[in-house]
């Protein structure tokens, strides 16, 4: 039984981690007032570039760094369009996803046949031999540890640092921030690039750890789920994480239920992760004041510093 429980917890963390990365990145982007719908495209390009570099050089870590760079590069395209040329963010984000799907397929042509050994779990000495919490907390893969660190860092940044306050201020009222001399566009660029890097990292997790392979369209909608998580979690990092693991956990549980032969329609079970995540996040965030307080007021609106 213990083995099954450990299996469920590990699988939940694994299923949730790519969503954690992509959603936290998008959270920062949106907090600055920019809505980037290109997460799916950035994840795919990150996944394929990371996989290609890891396959060619044999270095998984170089692959991870490349994935983040590639994701950030995609975000840079988006930034140039929406921040410098002030194009419509929704249209540009959708274009970025379409572009990312095609570009990743093209880059990945040579790599669909490659098999790779993914990043292995790190067993922390002594602690990892404890029952239950040993295998589920102290022997995870390094990117999972990184996701915990990033959650802490992002929460601290947003709510405890001056820079985070500035980012939120720009998301609330870019005009005010601009009028007291803050470089709104430059800071939004940084937020957009960070979001792209994190989406790339989410892609890298899929291609280098979770299912160490590259196939066209392998993210299978996880970018869109990350986007939805940010909204349903009312732009709070801890709730984003909760949503991601909840989604992962229900996905895994419904598979276990099927494996145990419990008589429920598989189609209903497959839709459970979506329903459960939305219901829980909507319930804990149903206070209209919290939503108003946390949603960036200027989201999706272009800002013209000169006007």
């Amino acid at each position: 039984m213990n083995d099954v429980l450990v299996g469920i917890i590990l699988a939940t963390l694994g299923a949730g981690t790519p969503l954690v990365f992509a959603a936290l990145g998008e959270l920062i982007t949106e907090k600055s007032g920019v809505l980037n719908l290109g997460v799916e495209g950035m994840m795919l390009v990150g996944a394929v570039c990371g996989f290609a570099v890891a396959a060619d050089t044999g270095s998984l870590w170089l692959g991870v760094v490349t994935a983040m760079t590639a994701g950030a590069f995609m975000a840079l395209l988006f930034g140039v369009l929406t921040l410098t040329f002030q194009a419509n963010q929704v249209a540009a984000g959708l274009a970025l996803t379409i572009f990312g799907v095609g570009l990743s397929a093209y880059i990945g042509l040579e790599y669909t046949s490659v098999a790779l050994t993914g990043l292995q779990a790190v067993h922390i000495p002594l602690l990892s031999s404890m029952p239950l919490i040993g295998p589920t907390i102290f022997s995870l893969d390094p990117l999972m540890y990184l996701s915990f660190v990033l959650l802490a860092a992002i929460s601290y940044f947003l709510y405890r640092s001056k820079a985070g306050l500035l980012l939120r201020a720009i998301g609330e009222s870019p005009r005010s921030a601009h009028s007291i001399g803050y470089p709104v566009i430059r800071i939004r660029y940084l937020a957009v690039l960070f979001g792209g890097g994190m989406a790339g990292l989410g892609g890298a997790y899929l291609a280098l750890v979770y299912t160490p392979l590259w196939v066209e369209g392998m993210t299978a909608g996880r970018g869109w789920i990350s986007l939805a998580l940010v909204v349903f979690a009312t732009w709070r990092p801890a709730r984003v994480i909760l949503g991601a693991y909840l989604f992962g956990g229900v996905t895994i549980l419904q598979l276990h239920v099927q494996g145990l032969g419990i008589d429920l329609p598989a189609q209903l079970l497959s839709s459970l992760p979506y329903i459960a995540t939305i219901v829980v996040l909507v319930l804990i965030s149903r206070d209209i004041n919290t939503i108003r307080l946390n949603s960036p007021a200027s989201i999706g609106k272009t800002f013209h510093p000169g006007a």
Binding site: T112, S113, M218, I252, G261
Partner: protein
């Protein structure tokens, strides 16, 4: 200023779409070097060709046909064609471009194929896995279940936990035939064996397939097989140190120690024969359902871990299926409730096989409806 930006965005988006569209145009296009005497053969693929899987096997068939018939044919393919309206456009384009024979290789191309075939009565169409035909539309599909039965024998002999895991896409007759044949094969050599099934409700989602395989292994399966399009289940087995049986293509490179064998599809002989018939003018609409005997289904080379006596048994059963002495769905066969659905000495008809909507004894869990 705003107008310029809008223009820029529109130009950018249009160029993106154009770049996406060019992928089709960039395919090897033999038709440019058109030669009226040659048979022009078109292929419509539902996914990228990639290196393993359903479409990969169809493309191997196309290449074999090209090699065998040489100068008599020229081929062209379009990959990643979504099922539905887009498919109809692609199929019509083939017909309008003067292609003589078009293979449409996915179930969802059935209605588009029928529609275009009506408009182009002089073009010959072959649709894979469908059930509608016409004077110029033939259908073809393989008896995948024959290979499943043989791979089940391997699984039954190699399992220690007596539990096999099956990652399956959708509960349709084709998939159920595979699950049932695999279970029957397994239990023919190991009466205690059981098969656990997890439905992913998607033909292609490597992440979900991986999760399903992990769950099956956690729940005690020491052999995993799949009826989905990626190699994720085989890779999961390799990582967890259990065995796997691939599908569509030989997937041994994705799990050198785990991969026992795979049920592989081979369309080359069929494609060559049908193209030859169109060349000779002897083609007629048929519903082809070929199996091991016709060379459409084979097992990939067995892993070295499979003992010689098991390999000999599999070879013997394969020969028996080829000669017609053995049919995987010969009675007695009971359903999960122990009700005997196929009496001893009888064999299920093709019609019944095509409508299969139940689990045989030995499959765990209830069939989703």
């Amino acid at each position: 200023m705003m107008t310029t930006n809008r223009m820029f965005l529109i130009a950018f988006t249009v160029s993106l779409l154009a770049a996406c569209g060019q992928k089709d145009a960039a395919e090897p296009d033999a038709s440019d070097a058109g030669d009226a005497s040659r048979l022009k053969v078109g292929f419509v693929y539902v996914t990228p060709i990639s290196d393993a899987g359903w479409t990969h096997q169809h493309d191997l068939g196309r290449l074999q046909m090209e090699e065998t018939l040489g100068d008599q044919v020229e081929t062209k393919y379009i990959e990643s064609v979504p099922e539905g309206a887009e498919a109809e456009r692609v199929i019509r384009q083939f017909a309008a471009d003067g292609f003589d024979l078009v293979f449409t290789t996915s179930f969802g191309y059935m209605n588009p194929t029928m529609k275009v075939a009506e408009m182009f009565p002089d073009t010959t169409f072959e649709h894979a896995t469908g059930y509608k035909s016409a004077a110029n539309v033939g259908t073809y599909v393989a008896r995948f279940y024959e290979g499943r039965y043989l791979s089940g024998i391997v699984a039954g002999k190699m399992t220690k936990s007596n539990v096999a895991g099956y990652v399956a896409a959708f509960p349709i007759p084709e998939v159920l035939r595979g699950i049932n044949a695999f279970t029957l094969g397994m239990r023919s050599v190991n009466p205690d064996a059981e098969v656990k099934v997890i439905w992913t409700n998607s033909w292609f989602d490597p992440g979900r397939e991986r999760e399903a395989a992990d769950v099956l292994i956690t729940q005690g399966a020491d052999i995993v097989t799949h009826h989905t399009d990626s190699t994720a289940a085989v890779q999961a087995a390799e990582e967890k140190g259990v065995y796997a049986i691939g599908y569509h293509s030989d997937m041994s490179r994705y799990g050198e120690t785990a991969h026992l064998t795979a049920v592989t599809h081979h369309w080359g002989d069929f494609y060559t024969r049908r193209a030859q018939e169109v060349l000779d003018g002897s083609w007629s609409s048929q519903n082809v359902w070929g199996g091991i005997k016709e060379g459409m289904i084979r097992l990939a080379p067995l892993n070295d871990a499979v003992p010689a006596d098991v390999a000999a048994l599999v070879a013997e059963k394969e020969a028996a299926i080829r000669s017609g002495d053995l049919h995987p769905f010969s009675g007695p066969i009971s359903n999960q409730d122990g009700e005997e659905l196929v009496a001893p000495g009888t064999t299920m008809s093709d019609e019944d096989l095509q409508k299969m909507e139940w689990y045989v004894e030995g499959v765990q869990g209830k069939l989703p409806r």
